[in-house]
């Protein structure tokens, strides 16, 4: 009998068994809760006659979307509207990331500047923007700044450019016959530039003489393309914007919703990136700069060859999470009529079809994969950078 109780208690006392039991219980709880929620959901959908499934994606949407980079009309399907919104989200995230990085690097360096005034200005910028909610900043750029812009009739005009409450208008190039030739020349000159850079590198290796390859290739691209234009007799016509009854029509337009979201996202995230850049640069030991200087490297090369590569290793991980944040924050565009994923899918589509589960699920899936791909890319990049170290 005593043996019996002994094995009994020792079964429960065994560390491995305890872990097993605990995990089994946890798993059971998770499964049960999941099942409970799911069965409730099914029952609720059933009794209320809510349609389910993704067949709505093939039905005509019937609503317009302000910004669509692929062909889209009201007669297209919800699926296509979804694609339009997806592209809008991608575009704003990508542009935001680029712009935020540029702003962040400039502001981060400015805060480190030995010009007192510049450093202070950068500090004020950083500390102001990062401590104010992004949504508020979006509202500010959309509602407050928009209100201060002139009416289309009184547009601010720079040549063929117009700025007013309806957006920023610019000429829209329309390519005519012969522009294929120009395009080919352009592409060729890029290839040429590539070879110039390679040749310059090889020459520098061999003779040590430095050739300003980047400037040269830049010049080549511009020059060759211009030449091609001249030769073909400028096969481009511009669709110029012009004032019409209500609006400026024609041309290309950046609508205020887009501009406001882009400015807000990039300046806000830029203020965080600035701090990351600053911390990264400060993390590089001053001795590295001194050693580089005492080797005779000028300050520019010291920064480029010694400080930046080392700072990048420190910068990249937190930078990744800022990029992730920016991509997620692009969803706030919904609040100011930028037709991104949340606005189009969780807003209009959900409303017209009533299928909350499917639409919200779709959105979460997209953001999940967006986050995942950014972090995968950054991890890969990070690994490559840190491989260099050891």
């Amino acid at each position: 009998m005593s043996e019996n109780t002994n094995t009994n208690t020792s079964f429960l006392n065994d560390a491995g068994n305890r872990a097993l039991i605990f995990q089994a219980v946890l798993l059971a709880v998770v499964v049960f809760v999941g099942y409970y929620l799911f069965s409730n959901l099914q029952a609720n959908l059933e009794t209320r006659g809510i349609s389910t499934g993704f067949s709505f994606l093939n039905e005509p949407a019937g609503f317009p979307v302000l910004i669509h980079l692929i062909e889209y009309t009201e007669a297209d399907t919800y699926g296509r509207a979804f694609a339009v919104a997806l592209i809008n989200t991608f575009v704003i995230s990508l542009l935001g990331i680029i712009l935020a990085t540029v702003i962040g690097v400039i502001m981060g360096l400015a805060r480190l500047s030995n010009n007192w005034l510049v450093a202070r200005l950068a500090t004020v910028y950083i500390e102001t923007l990062r401590n104010i909610p992004l949504l508020l900043q979006m509202f500010f750029w959309y509602f407050a700044v928009l209100a201060a812009m002139p009416h289309p009739r009184n547009s601010i005009v720079f040549g063929d450019f117009f700025i007013n409450k309806r957006g920023i208008y610019s000429p829209n190039p329309q390519f005519q016959d012969g522009s294929g030739f120009v395009l080919a020349a352009f592409l060729l000159s890029i290839v040429g530039a590539f070879f110039i850079v390679r040749w310059a590198k090889a020459r520098q290796k061999a003779t040590g003489n430095w050739f300003p390859a980047y400037w040269a290739s830049f010049g080549t691209i511009i020059g060759v393309t211009l030449l091609a234009f001249v030769v073909t007799g400028f096969p481009v016509e511009f669709d110029l914007p012009s004032k019409s009854r209500f609006n400026v029509t024609g041309g290309m337009v950046l609508v205020p919703e887009f501009v406001a979201v882009l400015i807000a996202l990039s300046t806000y995230t830029g203020s965080f990136i600035a701090e990351i850049v600053r911390a990264g640069i400060l993390s590089v030991n001053w001795g590295q700069t001194e050693a580089s200087r005492s080797l005779g490297l000028p300050d520019g090369k010291t920064q480029r060859l010694i400080v930046l590569p080392q700072a990048l290793r420190v910068i990249i991980p937190p930078l990744t999470s800022q990029y992730l944040n920016l991509a997620k924050n692009s969803s706030l565009g919904a609040a100011i009529a930028y037709p991104e994923l949340v606005a189009v899918v969780m807003g209009t589509t959900l409303n017209q079809t009533g299928q909350a589960i499917e639409t919200i699920g779709l959105c979460m899936l997209v953001y999940g994969s967006l986050s995942l791909s950014i972090s995968l890319f950054m991890n890969w990049y990070n690994k490559r950078m840190s491989l260099v170290e050891r």
């Binding site: 003779t207 430095w210 590295q288 080797l295 060859l305 590569p309 170290e389 050891r390």
Partner: protein, 259 residues
Amino acid sequence: MTDNNMALAQLEPGEEAIIEFSDVNKWYGDFHVLKNINFSIRKGERIVVCGPSGSGKSTMTRCINRLEEHQKGSILVDGIEMNDNLKNIEAIRKDVGMVFQHFNLFPHLTILENLTLAPIWVRKMPKKEAEEMAMHYLERVKIANQAGKYPGQLSGGQQQRVAIARGLCMKPRIMLFDEPTSALDPEMIKEVLDVMVQLADEGMTMVCVTHEMGFAKTVADRVVFMDAGEIVEANTPHEFFENPQHDRTQLFLSQILNH
């Protein structure tokens, strides 16, 4: 400073000076760190600088390649005046190699890349040539087999030898050492000092801040003792150790040799 040492700090007329401090003064904010330094170094001379901590040894050395600015007086290196002129500074830095206490190798570059960086970018040397030269110096400091590794993979002594080789790769006419062995373990100190002795034997002009008195006795042409921003005494090692003129020097030597 007595006239006696003064004579040793200044050169005889007609002698060729490669580094010349005249009335050099430097302040950090309000703190007067170098006071009226007058001192000349002959070509090929090996100078050891010693003195208590905070006496301005590093500062003086770093003025030679303008890692620090002085505010008064003039410093001539190889006939070039040290001033705000970027061209001058660049020219001088090409001629002066420096080795730091904490090595300051570039951790993201291999040993070979550490060595070829400046020859390629500053001297515009073809890569191949630079690498050959680098390997030559690495052999001289006896770590040619480590060329492909990264600094983090080497021991302190090896790293410091790489740092010396890196300095040499610019073919400088002057080498500055700022306490090159003080961050090293005892076994490694020897490795590094051996390399430095060898360099000295080749007739390189050297200015070396160190407390390795054995090294000073073996290789120095003159030993300079600093305190409170001044050169207190400058003399041949024999005179300096056997017959220090100043009570301050005596005190310092008694402390350092007992240790």
